[in-house]
Subunit: 253 residues, 6 copies
């Protein structure tokens, strides 16, 4: 099985980090390919950044599908940008790392917290938990006060800040699992699991396993209505080449 | 007061329709300017279309803000694409037409329905109602089975189909107000209000009035945390010019 | 357009304060008339007070409608007393100041708090937020510990207490907008907006603008079912004169 | 134990019907007294009617409390008008008949429906179920299309219409209990329970038993914050005599 | 009327405590019988304990029903174990003590807290409140840090710890009623009600009164669908004797 | 990796069916062992049946853990009986088949339905969806009217009935995925996926893959509070041997 993991930002070192984690998580027989768009923000820390990472990410998936597609796709940003649009153009499952981690946490403990990067992202996490159905299980969102790219810098103290908030989530907020709210924290999960004694999850590895699970059963995205392929139509200007092409089997409308 | 109304698709005739409606709705002393992006889908009927209309729309708002900004902005697509990203870069209020219509309906009757274009959009409306807080008031979403651009064709029978679903929403679903779920239906609202005897609302005109209301009180988007300006950073490739610039007054993070 | 603003308590100085604020908020072409009932509590600080302000308020609206009606009505108490009853007898929109402020706040920031007068009112605000659909956005209700009529006394220190709670709502509770939970605080809003840098809203001025917005589009209360005119019937005793008269066009029942 | 049952409308025959049912339901040792206000609507079929029944009802409770009070109070209208205001001035429990029936139904079956009088009341029932916490258990509200006072007329066919809707609620909506949504239906409950084989409840008798249950344990309304006695203050005009008097033990504010 | 109160654990002294409380609460004319299973945990402090208390409890109810049944049943553990299973085999009402206390509290104050034994039970209380519909009214769950059987020991300091948490619930969490979250706390309720001035409820006595209320009206569990008798079938091994027997009147399936 | 799949009923042929499906779903390197309790109901069609399947199931898990444990556990009944109790005594993940299927469906389509066996189980599915957070996504529960053990009989027409309800769920209820609501339907899933063109899922295979996913990442149940091992204590009578033993590392309480 081949899984395409997309880092929606354009920082190669982060793509590499994500790629290594994805590869380690993959089962024997699974190949993960990790890529990044050729345009867009170097990190995703706002809804504005998010909006500009999506077109490049969709281009990648559209091209992949035209060449036969992957068994499934992982969107490796904890805001789950463009998830629904991606599902419209993919055949296999498309899973966001926030979504994956929340699903996993809800099966492993009663109540989880998210330890995120910046305070401005906190309410986005609440919105996602509400959308996915996990709001009753979301005990808190804590911001470590660390910009995304500082996570790459071993001397930034970022890991300590993430750990400190993880402990507070456990002790003060009633978290029984903790989700690391940025793909850049992927390497911290295992260490914090050991140090805290509770499941501390990054979303990248969980999402890879979720795609393996679903695609392994032959399950893909339901194409019947909401995630049916976009109707064929022209796009204008710089996005002309992104226009959805003809759809062979028309879904219910 | 100057209000910028953005039709996020690239069909000029639809921009014209929206623009005329916006202008008619505006109070004396309000000027509305209605524009469309220079790139993207000719109509927005999927989350994929939605993703590709947002960058062009944000460019328009960013440019406008750099030239002094408008009193407020209207996003004239009933999926409210890019609303939160827009708020991060705007100073005045930014209001989506779905949002505006739902707010208005919830003050005028107990329970409303949306009459939309295609069935594939129905659950998007439920998601938006859930997000905005109006899910308990959303009695139903009915699809007229009309693609967006057919609304422009007087001979398509689209108006009759919209009316038929409006009547069913009233009689079968308990709707006391009906929202027309596409900016292209703006000219039907007044006629259907008269013919049905209940408030039938298009979102464009309501959103214009909501911006007038809020901006008229000197109220703008709260810039303190969630809608603070995006952090300055490079964007790569074709989106390099869209990178957020320096922020003068740093918000809480 | 003529808007009738009703202060549901019987304190003239408070009616004056409200009236001046309403008049300042009104657009050119809008006339606001602000009145108070001829019977009832001098301030509204309990559900009991609330119950006794409603009959006088409904008398005012019924009389106004019999004389041709106003374009719309504002109920200027932050408990929104009698709102649904008023809608049954009015043709134009009827908007409560709590409702109006919550709608506005939800379009300007992600999460708002209410700074109210007395602790005993706090859960009423939660109930209203739940009813209107904004409970997920209500970060906290803070009581300034100030009885309503002390707000009128410049030497009471009330303004400072309100400001202190406003700042706590921002810093501790995650409020991105703050609503002043009493019509008597109307003059503080603008000052606190400037001093805190976030939208601090009073409901009176927002409600006036909301009525302008809806009535300006020719929209009124939906009279089809829930807000249909009360059925004609006798009332006995002291309320005999308040009995609903004949309804010309019968609504669905 | 003495329980005061208040029919909030002013139709003596309906007070009698309620009174007989209450007396039959009372345990040995319980005395029920059933009264009606000296002013207000002859039946309660709108929020407007509701508003005008409350002052008279509160006068009754206030007077009762001043004379030593009852063990508890029943508000015998299925809209539960004035319930919270009544709790502020009462010491014992105050229970509405809608509330009581919903509580009971939720302990006897999984999912209940309300069979009400007129269609215009349906959404009021949804609002109450939402407020009390039973919305997930409310399968439907069905209107028998019978005005309140026709229930008194044996030849009106009202009983048959109520039965027909009760059966539909069971067969089509998944109701496992049915609540009769008007105090005037009290005599139908027992008969329909036998004829349908499921619990069909009127609220009057259930509310009497609930007051017996709570007051029998020495439990009364919590007077600490939300239902603390109204603050002493003047009322003006025709309501001057209704002003809340001095409160001996001040609650938290 | 005869009510069967079941202490689902196997500690006789706790059954005695519960039995005395139940007997004191019962109205003249009501007889309460309090029993415990012949197998299972000596106290119920986990979902595992809960699972092993249920079979013995169901045996008791099944045997009781086969001998003519009781007017109703009380499940005297604050986790409400086996409540739905019990309803399937009982004819009269079956009421859990957590359920009963939450219903009562929601009619006596705006918002309640639970003071429970161990921290590990806290989220069970949230789950129950969510299931019953009272989550919006549940202000907090506080653990006194007292194992169940220590409540029996007068020298354990348990009562003081329970009181301390009760006071914190009132002062810090906004509780207007407090529920004692263990059947073993039944003797504390009255004392804490007096000492705190708010209703402090144990569930045992409230549940007895609720059964009296419902059974006193001739109301029993709805047997039509969800709580219909279990279908006849063999059970194997040690549970062979627990197999459901023939059902005389088949319910809807 | 070794996964223990527990069929909680005592019908060997059903255990075999489940076992074959689990084995087919397992990845290379995963061994599934499928077992059934030595006591309890031959099928689980009520909460009463459910209560009597749990002790045997917990015995199996407890014994397995004492012998070193499995990587994870699957509870193969669509009511997810005893899930939380099982988590308290297991170290690895414990996943119910209803839970697993709902999680999967929510990542593959917008809205799913459950096609279940008997009508009496329908509201149990709603309760589970509400508990897990998927109630907004649950479009309907449809009962095929087939008792569990008839699913084993090729001539019962059960498969046709399940298919008919699956199609209705798609066409009438808006389901984009369908969950087969009984472990006995496991062999129908693949066939119905092909025949309907949407993901039709059985829970057994999905749960196996979910355990593989989580355990494959080294994630287990959070033992910190809610799912901490049960406290050591005696059990009496026939359950004496089930008493929880000493806990080596004490969790927070």
């Amino acid at each position: 099985m081949k899984i395409l993991v997309i880092n929606p930002n354009t920082t190669q070192s982060m793509t590499d980090t994500i790629g290594h984690a994805a590869a380690r998580a993959a089962a024997p027989g699974t190949t993960t390919v990790t890529v990044q768009p050729d345009k867009g923000p170097v990190s995703i820390e706002s809804q504005y950044d998010s909006a500009f990472c999506v077109p490049g990410m969709l281009e990648i998936i559209k091209a992949a599908e035209e060449e036969g597609g992957y068994a499934g796709y992982v969107v490796a940003c904890f805001r789950d940008p463009g998830l629904e649009a991606a599902r419209e153009i993919a055949t296999g499952p498309v899973i966001g790392i926030c979504e994956a981690a929340m699903h996993a946490a809800s099966m492993l403990g009663k109540g989880f917290s998210v330890v995120s990067t910046l305070k401005r992202s906190a309410k986005v996490q609440y919105d996602l938990a509400r959308k996915y159905g996990f709001i009753d299980q979301l005990m808190s969102v804590r911001a470590a006060g660390v910009p995304v790219l500082e996570l790459e810098d071993a001397h930034s103290g970022a890991a300590d800040k993430v750990k400190a908030e993880t402990l507070k989530a456990i002790e003060e907020d009633g978290a029984e699992c903790v989700l690391l709210g940025c793909a850049g924290m992927v390497d911290l999960a295992q260490r914090l699991t050991q140090e805290t004694g509770i499941p501390v999850m990054d979303g990248v590895t969980v999402a890879v396993k979720m795609v393996e699970a679903l695609a392994g059963l032959g399950l893909g995205t339901s194409k019947i209505v909401s995630y049916a392929p976009p109707r064929e139509k022209p796009y204008t200007g710089a996005f002309a080449a992104n226009a959805p092409g003809p759809v062979h089997k028309r879904a219910a409308e």
